[in-house]
Amino acid sequence: MTNPAMIDLEAVKLTNAQMAWRAAQDIEDGAYVNLGIGLPELVAKFQPDGREAIFHTENGVLGFGPAPAKGAEDWDLINAGKKAVTLKPGAAFFHHADSFAMVRGGHLNVAILGAYEVAENGDLANWSTGAGGVPAVGGAMDLVHGARRVAVITDHVTKSGAPKLLTRCTLPLTGVGCVTRIYSSLAVIDIAQGRFVLREKVAGLSVEQLQSLTGAKLHIEAPVTDLTAAQVA
């Protein structure tokens, strides 16, 4: 199932930075947030003015800030992606069991993760492509069942144009029924009562076109607004 309408997605879709910007708009002031490795990490750059989220990293830091200048890295101060970070005032260090007590105990307001596939029942697959090679899971399975809100940020379709938003996941699951919002490159979609509920879509696509790029039915419960994002990079 590849892009049946031959839509020029490159022309209408959000950039990675724009997706991250959009996700950042939903993070309330004072929220405790865990951002997955890769694309989700970009979200930290786009906190709206006047709001301050506190970022948690599995390896035992709360309140870290952006990467230091090149050459100024301290390799004892890294995030879960093993990138060097800095500290903000009010930061704290703790060990791994305490760190995951924060995750599992429901203390994080939101976790934003990447995805291979998301299903309309909220299932997420983001840790294994099912192929051979070396499997690795990290903290994703903990985050999806721990954070109070689990959101996904992802391209709407795969590189080959196949939907990533599906009726049921085909790849090994990270968690069941855990995702409640998807920030895709084309839309913002909530997951409620086992259904995809379309909230926002890019202006350059019709609902029908978006549906054709989605592997499960998009429900509409209220007017769908334009998905707009600042011109960010």
């Binding site: 506190i54 709360l62 009010g90 704290a92 924060m102």
Partner: protein
């Protein structure tokens, strides 16, 4: 972000009738006397209180019990130098008691904070306190299944706190306070000192702010032990 609250009264104002309230402290050390007294002033009733003990003398938790606000107490050791307030209520059938071994109490609270709904422990196996609890064998030894313990509110006492809720403690006054901070929906910390943001060393923060919702200053806090030697009575 500023979690500081201007007054003790405001800090506890929304604790309703019927709430479950964890109260830190081991005996008098680490007991948030000022917050407890504010809770007495506020007056909610029918509370379930989780504390290691059951109060001593006529201040703090004992005074809260004396005021008739506590319907049930979950604790490990309802005995003290002067436990007469609790004893009288208990023997009169006016307060429920759930007695929990101290390590089980601590671990149940930690489990509540860490998202662990149940765990196994050898503690209490074969005793009256394990009655009705599931038992399982692991590696040839028998264990009792215990459940997490959470609460609507935690009243805790810390030494220093900043506006983000990062806390340090003082000596053995640490005890149940850090784990109760983890296990309550709303954690209210009285601190002897507000630390300027950034002044607490991230290495020595004991309770990271994520576990704390409100920070309120109670300078020169009273010590239950000292109050009781003075035969103080609250209110």
């Amino acid at each position: 972000m500023d979690k500081s609250i201007p007054s003790l009264a405001q800090a506890v104002a929304d604790i309703p009738d019927g709430a479950s309230v964890m109260i830190g402290g081991f005996g008098g050390s680490g007991a948030p006397i000022e917050l407890i007294h504010a809770l007495i002033d506020a007056g909610p009733r029918n509370l379930t209180v989780i504390n290691n003990n059951a109060g001593n003398g006529h201040v703090g938790l004992a005074a809260l019990i004396a005021a008739g606000q506590v319907a049930k107490l979950i604790c490990s050791f309802p005995r003290s130098a002067d436990p007469r307030v609790f004893n009288a209520k208990y023997l009169a059938g006016e307060i429920d008691l759930e007695l929990v071994p101290q390590g089980t109490l601590a671990e149940r609270i930690r489990a509540g904070g860490a998202g662990t709904p149940a765990f196994y422990t050898p503690t209490s196996f074969g005793t009256d306190l394990a009655r009705g609890k599931p038992v399982a064998e692991f590696e040839g030894r028998s264990y009792v299944q215990e459940r997490w313990l959470k609460a609507d509110f935690a009243l805790i006492k810390a030494e220093a706190g900043d506006v983000m809720g990062n806390l340090t403690y003082r000596m053995a006054a640490r005890n149940f306070n850090p784990i109760m901070a983890m296990a309550a929906r709303t954690t209210i910390a009285q601190v002897s000192r507000i630390a300027p943001l950034g002044s607490l060393d991230p290495e020595t923060v004991v309770t990271p702010g994520i576990f704390v919702n409100r920070v309120v200053l109670a300078e020169n806090p009273a010590q239950e032990e000292v109050l009781n030697r003075q035969e103080a009575v609250y209110p």
